[in-house]
């Protein structure tokens, strides 16, 4: 029994230590922003790797989720004869919840795991150590541009996801199922608030972007330098990032929309 409690305490300390180390990685990576001439091309490269390469999965998922929402929503709303409320239902669902959350989950799976594997491989093949021997801090050179790229790309991807989702819903609802296009848009505009819905969703996606990239980058940097270590940290990135996103989503939703 005592042993169990001791083990619990130990794992608690381990978690706390890992959090401390991850905080230090983040702090060191962001502490000094190196000069613009050398770091901007690095950032562009990472935005390409993290953002542009995630576009396909985000656009396709956004389109299908928007279309499914329209189909399901139409069937339910039709029973109450209020299918013109389809636009507002789809838009609010996407902007407040599905946009940020689904994008973050896909982002963790597509970009987060790639970041972890890439940095982990660099550590395993001693690239980080050799960079350090050349006299360049790998935290600034490797970690920092990747972190900023995630910070920029995740909200952008979430915005694209929501937009494409609304267009998908328009295609199914208006063009296929015959909801009146005018009332689709006007109902949406009447109920969607810029500050309340769009901005809060945006804030959510920024928070998710920071958390997912942070976890991905840290897991890569902290990986055990073997091929088994890389596969473990990649799995951990997806699991931890997904759990963090869902947990934070509840907290953020409670803070943002809870009192209404």
């Amino acid at each position: 029994m005592i042993e169990r409690i001791a083990a619990l305490g130990r794992s608690g300390l381990d978690i706390l230590e890992a959090m401390g180390r991850s905080g230090m990685v983040l702090f060191h990576a962001l502490w000094a922003w190196p000069n613009v001439r050398t770091s901007f091309p690095l950032l562009v490269k990472q935005i390409y790797a993290v953002g542009v390469l995630s576009m396909v999965i985000i656009v396709v998922s956004g389109l299908f989720i928007g279309m499914v929402l329209a189909l399901q929503g139409y069937n339910i709303l039709n029973r109450y004869g209020s299918e013109q409320a389809l636009g507002q239902m789809v838009a609010l669902t996407l902007l407040r919840e599905l946009g940020p959350v689904v994008t973050a989950l896909l982002f963790a799976g597509r970009a987060g795991s790639a970041l972890t594997a890439e940095i982990g491989l660099m550590k395993t093949t001693e690239q980080l150590a050799s960079m350090e021997m050349i006299g360049v801090d790998p935290l600034r050179r490797i970690v920092s541009p990747r972190f900023w790229a995630g910070f920029i790309c995740m909200p952008t991807l979430a915005l694209i996801f929501s937009s494409v989702g609304v267009l998908g819903a328009y295609a199914v609802g208006v063009l296929w199922l015959g909801v009146d296009g005018g009332s689709f848009w006007s109902n949406m505009q009447g109920s969607v608030e810029w500050g309340e819905d769009v901005m809060n969703g945006f804030i959510k996606s920024v928070v998710f972007g920071v958390v997912v990239t942070w976890i991905a980058v840290f897991q890569g940097y902290d990986t055990v330098p073997t091929s088994e270590g890389i596969s473990r940290s990649t799995t951990r990135t997806v699991v931890y990032a997904s759990l963090a996103v869902l947990g934070l989503d509840f907290i953020l939703t409670a803070v943002m929309f809870g009192e209404l």
């Binding site: 091309p41 576009m55 902007l95 694209i160 929501s162």
Partner: protein, 154 residues
């Protein structure tokens, strides 16, 4: 060349992101330039605000001319006080305009409907609308109806 296509792709990505935010702003949330317009504040007291919420619409003849900005209870008269922000462009509402709490589509959201009065003075910042009509509360209506039926019988 490789660096150039990369930069073009990233530029395209940022552009699509920008288009998305413009689309969400103008088409989805119907953000128009006058929503951040300057407003003036008008107060109205209601016997019962019955489910009206902050940010509800204020309309006249069905057109949105403002938003409810605050709701609280007057601790002396025990009536609900509703503060409304009316867009500055509608600055010629007469001081005896009347306000009613209405319900969209019978069961939908509550909003305030204003009806223009006859006075030549206009409502200004801080004015009060005296002629108010409370929200229809279904229970009260039923109770009144039943009481009326009972008293009508001999």
């Amino acid at each position: 060349m490789r660096g150039r296509t990369l930069e073009l792709a990233v530029g395209g990505f940022m552009l699509i992101g920008l288009l998305a935010i413009i689309f969400l702003a103008l088409r989805v949330s119907g953000l128009s330039m006058n929503s951040s317009e300057e407003t003036y504040r008008v107060v109205a007291k209601f016997e019962n605000i019955g489910g009206l919420t902050v940010r509800a619409k204020v309309t006249m003849a069905g057109v949105t001319i403002g938003r409810v900005s605050n709701i609280y209870l007057d601790k002396e008269d025990f009536v609900g006080v509703v503060e409304m922000d009316i867009y500055k462009q509608f600055n010629n509402l007469s001081s005896d305009a009347s306000a009613a709490i209405l319900t969209a589509g019978g069961l939908g959201e509550k909003y305030i409907g204003l009806i223009q009065g006859a006075e030549l003075d206009n409502l200004t910042d801080g004015s009060e609308i005296y002629d108010t009509q409370s929200a229809l509360v279904l229970e009260d209506l039923i109770a009144k109806f039943l009481v009326g039926r009972v008293s009508d019988e001999p």
